[in-house]
Structure formats: C-alpha cells, structure tokens
C-alpha cells in the first residue's frame, strides 16, 4: 500500500461526509415540506405538477393506500418503458436508426430500470435510441430513486408518529424527491462531468479516419445528463456497454472522484436526514457509524486483494500491478477497488472496472456487499429502509438477550413487525440462492458462462445477487441476453424490489399506530458505539450464515486454487 493510495481513500471519505452533512439537513427539510432556498424556482413547479395530476398534497395515506399508489406507479412504469423500447424505431432522436428490441430483452430492461436495478443485458451504444435513453431510461433513473426515498421517509414517519394511521402521501414524496433533491443535484453534477470530458450531444455517431489509416466510429449521445442521475440515484445503468470505464462516461481521475461521491452522497446524507427527522441526530450517527465500519472493512479487503494481485500473471514476468485485466490505467488499482466497493454496498451497479476480472477475493466483496442487502449505506432510500430492517432485528435479538420487550425509538417491536422484517430479509435471499441453484443445474443456465471452474459459479451467483439486490452490476462475461436469464432475472428483480418494499410499508403503518413508551432505566439505548457494533455484527452474521456455503464454492475456492497455481 502506498501513501498516495491512503491519501486518496481518506480524501474521498472526508469530502463525502462534508457533503452529506448539509445535504442530509436539506433533505430533511424538503421531505417534511419546509421552505428551502430552491422554492422560488421549484416551488411553483411542484404546485403545477400537483394541479396537472389532480393530486391533493395535503391528503395523507394509510400504508395500504401508499403501497397501492406505489405499485400502480411502478407497474405502469414497467409497461410504458416496455412499449417505448418496442416502438423506438418509430420515434424521434434516433440517428442510428435502432429498431425494436427482442421482447424478453425489453421486458428485462423495463423491470430493471423501474426497480432501480439497471441490470444491462443490452449494450447501450448498439441497441438504444437517444429517445429511449432520455425519455425512458433517464426518467426511471429519477423516479425509481425517488420511490426509494419515499419508502424510507414513510418508514421514518412510522417511527415518529403516534397513534395515527397515515404515513404520508406517496405522490408528494415522489414529486418532492425528484424535483427538489435529484433534479438540482443532477444538473450541477452533469455539468461538472462535462467539464471533465463526458459528452453531451444529440449528434449521430462520428466516423473518423485514424492515424494509422483505418477508421473508427465514435459513439455519441446525451451521456452526461444520464451519467449524473445514474450515480446520484444509485441506478448504475451506463449509457455505454463499458459503463463508467468508458472514457466518454468517466474520462479523468477527477470525474471518477465525482462519480464515487455522487453514488454515496445521498445514501450517507439520508442517515443524517433520519437523525433530523426523529429530532435526535445521534440516531442518525449510529446508523452512519455501523455502515462505516462495514464499508471500511470491505474496502480494505477489496483493495488488499487487488494489490496482492494475480500470481498466475506475475509468473509471466511483469512489472507494475498484476491484476490490471479489466482495469483502466488512469484510475489504477486503488480507485478500481474503491469504486467496486462503493457501487455494490449501494444498489448502484455502475462499474469502472470489470468485476468479472477482479481477483477472487476482490470479486467476493461486491457479491457479499450485495448479498448483505445493500444496507451498508445502500441505495438511495433503499439503503435506509434496509438498515431499518436490520435495526429491528438487532433490537429484537438484544431484547431476547436482556429479557425485555424490544423497542425502537419508544415503539414496541412485536410479532407483526418481526414477521415483516424477517420476510424482507428472506425474500431476496431466497431469490439469490434458489435462482443460482437453478441456473447451475440446467443447460440454459450454464451455457451462458464465460469462465470455467469455480469462477463460473461465481458468475451465476453474481447475476442472481445483483438482480435480487437491485444492484445491476455483473460478472459480465455471463451472456445474460438469453430467454432464460432475461426472464428469470426480471422475476428476481421484481420480487427483490417489491418483496422488500411491501413488508416494510406494512411495518411503517403498524408502527405509526403505536403508542410511545417513555424512556426508563431499562430501555436499551439505540445510540452509541455499542449499538453501532451490534448492528454491524447482526448484518454480518445474518449475511454470513445465509451465504457462506455458496461463497465458499465460488470465490473462496477459486482464490485457494489461484494461490496453488491452478487455472481452468
């Protein structure tokens, strides 16, 4: 490890927290409907949206109405995005003349973007018109992230309200999150990225005559506007196939720093938002601390493994880092390992390095981060509501140990909440394990593999983890554009998204109706280092118990084989 690598890691973390603190406070104001400095411009726009859509912004919803509105909006989104891809050939902004996609690919992409997964079985520059990219994919980058924030804020209301039935208004939460949080940040973010060389135009692809006398066709497009929200909304669907490794998406080390900041700034900020909304900032800090412990640990493993590198390559007789396959020189090992961790602890899934070519343990970290439920800061909104699931499990386990009724923020955690919280953990885990088990025993699953040996299992495990966890990154050697993977992964994405959201909204509804028990000497404090440590421990133990056997057969055994010099 060089001093400069340390410097880059430390600098990133410090800037991240410095940006997330004020953003967290700002988001709390926006989500509670307070006035902020953006209201002069965006206030009237927000009101106009409500008027056009016939939304009564003062009307509150109970959890069932909230859930029905959310599902209606998202399913409609899937249907319209599917149709858009099937008729893109008839629509404007299509200088390359791309025609309709195959139905299973269009379905996969529609579910993928509406669920904030952004798994890409397609290759952007060779299938998607500019219109589909803008009016389809970019829109869902915004609203799927806003859906996540809405669910998180509904849960916070459940914790803070006393003996009421309602948890907010879905339309209002969605609109405010989009217009006042995601949109202004994206505009600033996109322009910063363009300054570094990210392209933003509507020109047809440009063919040039190269130095050596050949020709090269440069893909063009409105990239920066999608790039900014792709990171800020932890979506991760690249404009191009190579995603954030493509020089037109991520040209410089500074653009890379910006993108890494964009991915985590809202999820980290939301832990602080939570503190402000429950009027006890310590409650926010403790969630931040638990996530930070796990984040630093995972970054450490990922970085060390990539620096230690690939002995099978070192054997050839090389200088420099041995694990450079699938990495870009301008980012180097440290920024590749850091990006890989950031993109998978969140539900982002953008990549600046090809995860399939990471060292086995370096590749284990992204899979594990997704398997843990992306609660280490996690996706926009999705991370916070996943952390709440583990908070509930933690106070329950602690309650069992000390023999008291578990409580969180003065609310009793009872049988119903436990059933729902456990469902929210089990549903995606089941999708991951059953899905990859199925894929590994049928030819339709194994014929798509690009690598033999244990790495092949890792590819399938990664695919189902990524889909169920709504991440979207991949061990991309797997040929995922087949009927089997397109359909199976669509199902995993849908269940992994709404199979978590619905139980959690039910918890929000049930919590909102409860009384607040006054704090007494026997109340277990959910602030402070002890609770942060317990929370981090519960996350790791549940993840390890569920997934260790599968991981042992994939990346762990591959690492051991690599050390003894075996190739497949």
């Amino acid at each position: 490890m060089t001093g400069n690598d340390f410097l880059q890691l430390g600098f990133y973390l410090i800037i991240l927290v410095l940006l997330a603190l004020p953003l967290g406070r700002y988001m709390a104001k926006v989500l509670q409907g307070e006035k902020t400095f953006v209201d002069t411009v965006l206030g009237p726009l927000e009101k106009l949206v409500y008027r056009v859509c016939g939304i009564d912004s003062d009307k509150e919803m109970n959890w069932r109405e909230y859930a029905v509105s959310l599902m209606a909006f998202n399913i409609l989104g899937i249907v319209t995005l599917f149709i858009l891809q099937m008729i893109q050939g008839l629509l404007p902004f299509n200088p390359q003349g791309f025609s309709a996609m195959r139905w299973d690919l269009a379905l996969n992409t529609a579910v993928s973007f509406a669920t904030n997964t952004n798994w890409q079985a397609y290759s952007g520059e060779s299938t998607m018109s500019y219109f589909t990219q803008m009016a389809g994919l970019t829109v869902h980058n915004f609203v799927s992230a806003a859906t996540g924030i809405a669910v998180a804020v509904a849960m916070i209301r459940g914790f803070t309200r006393k003996q009421v039935k309602t948890i907010g208004n879905f339309w209002v939460d969605l609109t405010r999150s989009t217009l006042k949080i995601l949109l202004p940040l994206s505009i600033v973010g996109a322009l910063l990225l363009v300054s570094q060389g990210v392209i933003q135009n509507l020109s047809p692809y440009l063919t040039v005559n190269t130095f050596q006398g050949g020709s090269q066709t440069l893909a063009m497009g409105p990239v920066a506007s999608q790039e900014a929200i792709k990171e800020l909304g932890t979506n991760g669907g690249g404009f191009f196939n190579a995603n954030s490794a493509h020089p037109f998406e991520n040209p410089t080390p500074f653009s890379n720093l910006l993108e890494m900041l964009f991915i985590l700034v809202i999820p980290v900020g939301l832990t602080f938002t939570f503190g402000h909304m429950v009027k006890d900032t310590k409650q926010g800090w403790v969630l931040f601390a638990a996530a930070l412990i796990l984040f630093v640990l995972m970054t450490g493993v990922s970085y060390s493994s990539e620096i230690a590198g690939n002995p099978l390559i070192s054997k050839i007789g090389i200088s420099g880092a041995s694990a450079m396959e699938g990495k870009e020189v301008r980012f180097g090992v440290v920024n590749s390992a850091l990006f890989a961790t950031i993109t998978t602890v969140t539900s982002c899934g953008a990549v600046n390095t090809m995860h399939d070519s990471l060292t086995p343990l370096g590749g284990l970290i992204p899979i594990l981060a997704i398997m843990l439920g992306e609660c280490v800061f996690g996706g926009v909104g999705a991370g916070l509501y996943s952390i709440f699931t583990f908070v509930i499990l933690t106070v329950f386990i602690v309650g069992l140990m000390v023999g008291r009724t578990p409580e969180y923020l003065g609310k009793k955690i009872e049988g119903f909440e436990m059933k729902m919280a456990v469902s929210a953990v089990l549903i995606p885990s089941t999708c991951i394990l059953l899905g990859s088990a199925l894929a590994s025993v049928i030819p339709a699953g194994t014929s798509s593999l690009a690598n033999a040996g244990p790495h092949g299992l890792s590819e399938m495990l990664y695919a189902f983890s990524s889909a169920s966890g709504n991440n979207g990154s991949a061990f991309a050697g797997l040929s995922a554009n087949t009927y089997f993977y397109n359909i199976a992964l669509s199902m995993a994405m849908f269940i992994g998204r709404f199979g978590v959201i619905l139980p959690l909204l039910a918890i929000a509804g049930s919590m909102a109706g409860k009384k607040v028990t006054p704090v007494s000497a026997g109340t277990f404090q959910t602030t402070g280092g002890l609770f942060a440590g317990l929370l981090a421990g519960v996350i790791v133990i549940i993840g390890a118990l569920t997934f260790f056997p599968a991981l042992a057969l994939g990346p762990i055994v591959e690492q051991l084989m690599m050390w003894v010099g075996k190739a497949f």
């Binding site: 020089p247 037109f248 007789g317 991309a476």
Partner: protein, 192 residues
C-alpha cells in the same frame, strides 16, 4: 372506482415526470454544455487540417512500429471499436486468458528487443475495462522508446523529450495514476 383514480394519477405523474426529467432536463443540460464546454460535450475531438482524426479520450489501434502502442483491446472484433465498448471479462484463473497474456508478453519483448526474461509492464499484456483506454503507464511507454526512435530514424533523446512532454502526473497531484496518452504522443511524433 378508487383504483381508476389512482391509475389516472399514476399515469399523469409519469407523463409529467417524463416531460421534466426525460425531455426538459437532458435538453437543458445539452444546451448548457454546448455553450459552456463545447469541446468536451462533443467528444474532445482532435482536429487536423480541418478534419477530426479521433478523440483525445478514446484510444486507437496502433501496430506500426513507428507508433507507440496502446493496451490490448477487446472492444469490437479488431479492438478499439468505439461503437462497441467492453472488456474481456476473463476471470483470474481463466487458462486461455493466461495463455494470451503470456503470448502478448513474448510479443512485446520481441518487438522491443528485450531479453526473454525481461519484465513487461502489466498494462501492455492486459486488456482495459472499456477497450478504449487511450492511456498506458509511463513504464509501458518507456520500453517502446528505442523501437520508435529506430523506426523513425530519430534520436532516442528526441523521442524521450516528446514522451516526457506527453506524460501526465496525477490529477491535482494526488488523484489517479501517472499516465501517457498514446494518441497525443503519436500525434506529437507525426507533427515533428
């Protein structure tokens, strides 16, 4: 009936959001970018005699000994296809990838007149993630200096000076890694 009302609201909100975030937002950013950063927004093109010959951010295929060579590329059929980006996705224990890497190392050694056990900079035997990376490490450029000078009948010192000029340090002194833009270096050689 209540359900119809929800569906209508969902549809209207989706439509309004499509107009705001899917049309107004990208077009507004396009407009601003084209005014403030027109060079970057249009692909950082390198123009020679009024004709674009490439982008300073996108690598090109170089096999001629007179040029510095970039990294192996898996973009498209022949590499450096800027309408078909992507990496090899070869895993670390993939035998065919390891064989290819060893073969590339031998080629690099032969091309540059190195001894058969000389260490080869790793970026010259591994494919980048995008397949379009325009950069190599300074070490990877250094071992090509003598070959390029010989092929061009130039003095080694002269090529070295150009290489030093085209070597970029870390951004702001600490971000990323030191690197050489192969395209710009070759352009500098050609315009000598």
């Amino acid at each position: 009936m209540i359900k119809m009302k929800i569906l209508r609201r969902a549809f209207m909100l989706l439509l309004v959001m499509t107009i705001i975030t899917g049309i107004a937002y990208p077009l507004a950013v396009t407009g601003l970018a084209q005014v403030i950063f027109p060079h970057q927004a249009n692909g950082s093109l390198i123009v020679q005699n009024g004709q674009a010959v490439g982008s300073e951010l996108i690598g090109q295929n170089f096999s001629d000994p007179r040029y510095f060579h970039g990294r192996p590329s898996t973009a498209g059929k022949d590499g450096y296809d800027a309408a078909s980006s992507g990496g090899s996705n070869s895993g670390p224990t993939n035998r065919s990838f390891l064989d290819t890497a060893a073969q590339r190392a031998d080629e690099v050694r032969k091309e540059n007149g190195l001894s058969p056990d000389a260490p080869v900079p790793s970026d010259l035997i591994t494919a980048s993630a995008s397949g379009l990376e325009p950069y190599i490490t300074p070490a990877a450029a250094q071992i090509q200096v003598t070959r390029v000078a010989k092929a061009r009948n130039m003095s080694v010192q002269k090529v070295q000076v150009l290489l030093d000029q085209c070597t970029k340090g870390r951004q702001f002194g600490f971000l990323g890694e030191p690197r050489v833009n192969v395209l710009q270096l070759n352009l500098a050689l050609d315009t000598q």
